[in-house]
Symmetry: C2
Subunit: 423 residues, 2 copies
């Protein structure tokens, strides 16, 4: 075997045994080949003593726009309209292939350093993003976000980019990179356009990302125009026929919308910090879960978060819903972790990750559980959800490759990435 | 001068100039003796190159119970009653002087490592706590929490401990340690008891800490019994005559309560993460601020948080109120920082800290702003509030003494503290 972790606390997220107190985890050919409390027979090329450390599945960031790391702190605390029109869109107008690569590289570095091993993205300059993902070693579901009315669809540059991204990168690197389809949102597209993108998704068996019911006005304007919620409208347009949707935000979806999402094997990517910060609202995750929807978590872009630390999302989700419902059992720690791992993998259409289990991809992170704020450890799941931060991650492995270890990036020139972003 | 920081980004929190991009900060005899963009004349014993770093006032944790670090992750996600009766109270019954010292030492280490330079506490075993505070170098307002009906008040062991704490530690270490008075809460005391504690506070000019309107049932039961809110009841009992209250939690206080607090120069210590996690509710901080109340932030104990990272509180406050009000201007970044610095100092009755300014105590923290999640830095206040974590702190200074630097504790044997807590 390639690597053997010894003496580790392990959160497996495997329903059969979600936690092991002192275990071995063996990795070979990118896969987990053994997990258990007894020492495996085979010799390992490298042994990692994980005493005082915790292993868990890498976190899955279900919704982000990586190049927007360039806009960290560019504008906060103002109306959404002002934020977009006066700050974000003008900044996006100035993006270049070079700046997008720098932003992407830094964003991936930030994710790896805080325990994220896979992310779902929608943006433009997608081939630049994909090439950086390729060399970085991280997993990603990438998509070219489509905006427009759908007239002259085939001649839109964005559509060529979507097709080019698909043909060059779908299932690249042995499936480490997947390509999704992406409709930007109901309010930025028209029916014809949406149907064309959905058709492309169906033809190629791709997940379909759509920003959905993020703000109250977006949701209500749609109802005013069509007497349908955005999700109902999408259903009526046939967008979900044979297509698994990944709907981002969903602050205002109804129980009927939830039924639609569930019936089509879809998922929600909720971005609670971004929703709070942009004053969009609060998605009702407990109700979605009760209705059987696959809920995953995302950070959204750094422009509205302003980092990509998934541990912040996990803790917020595990506390916020208790506070707003006055019910301390509204969302337990293990469920919150599940959203960022098991459900995230499902939302990406990846059935071999999100759990530490034999035969699954070795997407593993290791946390230093010996730091003052993680002692004592009465309950490792509690400490992970309520006490830990992304900065406690000391090792990040994707498909058996260590991409980050003790502050060092193995595939990214971090100083160059920082310089690139500040250029 | 003792120490000169050079080339620093500086958040001063001084209204005249809250931020300096490239400045010098000089420290001598425990005080800040110079801040400015020009180099000072005097030579320094030690010069610290703060290029790529940010200096800001140490954070002030307005409400905690430090020994409860022993109970990190002991119990979560259950009803308050079950949590207290089945888990926390039985665990507290087993506390010893030794375990309290270990818990306190680890808690202080955690606070120093995440940028907290002062805290307000109420608990028992208070002399053990005070002795650990004394050797650690941190600032604290300590109090012996009083519970009871007030019959035979002078013979209560808790009252002796309160008096002993006061006589041994009030204004000890040149005022680094202050003693407050503390009534545990309305529902755990009777009028006679409360009046006696308040009398003690008044006689000695002490701040009076009280858990107030933390849960809905506590608040409403008081109204049912007295036709008064807890704050109104305290006013009617004369507790605030000549006494500055520090009311913790205040999830349910009314505008009339806010007027009462303001009229008595009082403060609120809000503990939003704890309130969410225990499903207590959400204190209306924007309304309190609008009504002129001095609002500070606290983590509450680690048993209900489950860490003492004040950066988490700051970010939550700066995002949560936007989300629940659907108003992106409900709480801006600088205001959130103010709660954890300037207002915290005021709540502790300390008029010489919370701001980096000549003549003020040198309670300074330094953050490494060169880390991936803090690049780029379009706005240092935004990055501090929305992107940073306690783990970005690389230096913590209290009254000119460096207590923590690059992972090393100068006054605490961290390995002993960890062992003590796990014993």
């Amino acid at each position: 075997m390639d690597i053997l972790f010894e003496n580790a606390k392990v959160i497996t997220m495997d329903e059969a045994a979600p936690y092991l107190e002192n275990a071995y985890v063996a990795v070979k050919g990118g896969k987990i080949v053994y997990i258990g409390e007894a020492a495996p027979q085979e010799q390992a090329k490298r042994r990692i003593d994980a005493r005082g450390k915790l292993l868990m599945p890498g976190l899955i960031n279900g919704h982000t726009h990586v190049p927007m790391t360039l806009f960290r702190g560019l504008s906060d605390d103002c109306e959404l309209d002002v934020w977009l029109r006066e700050h974000i869109w003008p900044a996006e107008d100035k993006l270049t292939s070079e700046s997008v690569r720098a932003g992407t590289e830094l964003s991936i570095a930030e994710m790896l350093a805080s325990g994220t091993t896979s992310f779902s993205d929608s943006y433009f300059f997608v081939e630049d993003i994909a090439e950086v993902v390729q060399t970085s070693g991280i997993k990603a579901n990438l998509s070219r976000s489509i905006i427009g009315n759908g007239e002259d669809f085939e001649n839109m540059p964005s559509v060529s980019e979507m097709r080019e991204l698909f043909s060059r990168f779908h299932m690249a690197e042995g499936g480490r990179i997947r390509v999704d389809a992406s409709i930007h949102a109901e309010y930025t597209t028209e029916t014809k356009c949406r149907m064309k993108v959905a058709e492309f998704a169906k033809e190629n068996n791709l997940i379909l990302q759509i920003h959905t019911s993020e703000s109250k006005s977006e949701h209500e304007n749609c109802i005013t125009r069509y007497r349908k919620t955005p999700t109902e409208l999408f259903l009526s347009e046939g967008l979900f026929d044979g297509v698994r949707p990944l709907l981002a935000h969903c602050c205002y979806i109804t129980e009927h919308d939830m039924d639609i999402i569930k019936a089509h094997g879809g998922s929600v990517a909720s971005c609670v910090i971004s929703n709070l910060k942009l004053a969009s609202g609060i998605p009702d995750l407990p109700l979605m879960l009760e209705n059987g929807v696959n809920v995953s978590l995302g950070t959204d872009s750094v422009a509205s978060n302003n980092n990509t630390d998934m541990f912040e999302e996990i803790k917020l989700v595990a506390t916020l819903y208790k506070g707003i419902s006055l019910n301390p059992t509204a969302m337990d720690a293990l469920t919150a972790l599940c959203l960022a791992t098991v459900n995230g993998a499902r939302a990406q259409g990846r059935d071999d990750c999100g759990i530490l289990k034999e035969g699954y991809d070795a997407d593993i992170i290791m946390l230093d559980f010996d730091r003052p704020h993680l002692v004592p450890c009465h309950n490792a799941i509690s400490n992970t959800v309520y006490s830990a931060h992304g900065s406690d991650v000391v090792l990040t492995m994707v498909r058996g490759e260590i991409l980050y270890e003790n502050g060092e990036f193995k595939t990214i020139d971090i100083e160059r990435a920082k310089r690139g972003v500040m250029a």
